[in-house]
Symmetry: C2
Subunit: 267 residues, 2 copies
């Protein structure tokens, strides 16, 4: 198999990473994509760094056997905690979602502006976004807020219910008066709550998600290496560690993705 | 070691089973208790029967090595899906939380009355409570409602926030007018939301949780076998599969349990 025809591997703790998958599919229509969702151990966001690193390594080893040419860690928690560990064991390039999110936020926040990072408890505690923002040298003030109920809200399919607004207000209303320029949706589930979050934050605040930016970065990486697949219609394959039917149903319900048959790999 | 001095093993997907632990400690002060929380894979309630059975078997094998004399499955999801599988591999008696909950509900609902079973998606889909209620021959009508957001609400420590009431109303208000005699809290986390659930359901409805009944059943089982430990102050040991400090903090915050050092066993 020509190197360009090899698949891109994408993984997440569950189905949130499908927001990244969807962007990859849109921006890289010729690529073969393999998506892995660790539905037996979801969520990652409330677990320790040790556990998230161990899980990420197992999944990486599994995807490497599928002869992937690029690995996209489409999970903010794993990107925050396990990116270095994954890079150490991967002979192919590894992209996370933190840096693309940071770049998108900086495009929306002027010098001296304010960026609010939202995410799971693990992502926020890792301070991965703050560190990455600081590393760019940009003069923005960074605030952070863990929103652990957002993931189960999305997985319940309650994105447009009044209770979703109540939860969003509980977490974010204290930030509304603080002249936030950009909110980073630092969890791949959160784009599904974008409208509600935007309503709580008000019109002056841009809501940025990293899915679009992460896919653009993947395209750039492959282009630089001459590994873009210019085929017409890439294949998509979905593998989960538990409950394949439920994954398939939710992928369609939440994101309109038709998965076809979902395979199972248990660890 | 005398058989009566052997510990009782208790396990749950996370910390919800501590409501059962607390009742065991109160009703059986002389017993040595080992509690295992599968915090690396929590929650169980959204996962498949296959996964829950595999996890439960692993934990059972681990606890059997600790020379337990009795195993209490203090997790409704595991009790619903994995009790038979666990019994097949266990040489010591295995108690779940379903039957004690059913008995408590029947004590509160008259013949011809109505019982509402609440629980995780997996517990409700298993229909374990309905089947157990039917098996008693009691003439009660059983309704069921999965409430998957209750567990993350509790784990967030939001049990008395307005948003907890909003979530409880979303799930339960449609049942308020239906003359429910008893609501079974079919998840070990739910007793922590008892007040809010009671407020939504109104004064005519009894809220029953199985923790108290399960502990009473454990006492009976040991008494019948002549294996009660009449010592003065039993030891408590806590083991989790991830994030021991967080477990320790939440055990105290939510239930006032001082765990001391929590050990870690990874699978």
């Amino acid at each position: 198999m020509k190197r360009s025809e090899r698949p891109i591997g994408v993984f997440d703790s569950g189905l949130g990473g499908l927001t990244v998958f969807k962007e990859l599919r849109a921006q890289l229509p010729g690529e073969n994509l393999i998506y892995f969702g660790d539905t037996a151990r979801v969520p990652y966001g409330t677990k320790s760094a040790e556990a998230v690193i161990a899980f990420s390594r197992e999944i990486t080893a599994f995807l490497l056997k599928k002869k992937i040419k690029l690995l996209v860690v489409a999970c903010n928690t794993a990107s925050s905690l396990a990116l270095d560990a994954v890079r150490k064991v991967s002979p192919v390039p590894v992209l996370g979602v933190i840096l693309p999110g940071v770049e998108a936020a900086l495009a929306a926040a002027p010098a001296g502006g304010k960026v609010l990072v939202t995410g799971t408890t693990a992502t926020v505690n890792s301070r991965a976004y703050s560190k990455a923002l600081a590393a760019t040298g940009a003069r923005v003030r960074v605030l952070e807020k863990a929103c652990p109920l957002f993931v189960p809200l999305v997985e319940e399919g309650w994105c447009s219910k009044p209770v979703a607004s109540a939860v969003a207000r509980e977490y974010l209303l204290p930030f509304r008066g603080k002249k936030i320029d950009a909110v980073i949706l630092g969890c791949t589930h959160y784009p599904l709550l974008k409208k509600i979050i935007s309503k709580v934050m008000g019109p002056r605040t841009r809501i940025v998600d990293s899915a679009h930016a992460a896919a653009a970065r993947a395209r750039l990486e492959l282009a630089e290496r001459g590994e873009l697949n210019s085929g017409r219609k890439g294949k998509s394959q979905f593998i989960v560690s538990d409950a394949p039917e439920k994954f398939s149903i939710l992928a369609f319900k939440l994101l309109g993705i038709r998965t076809g048959k979902v395979a199972v790999k248990r660890f």
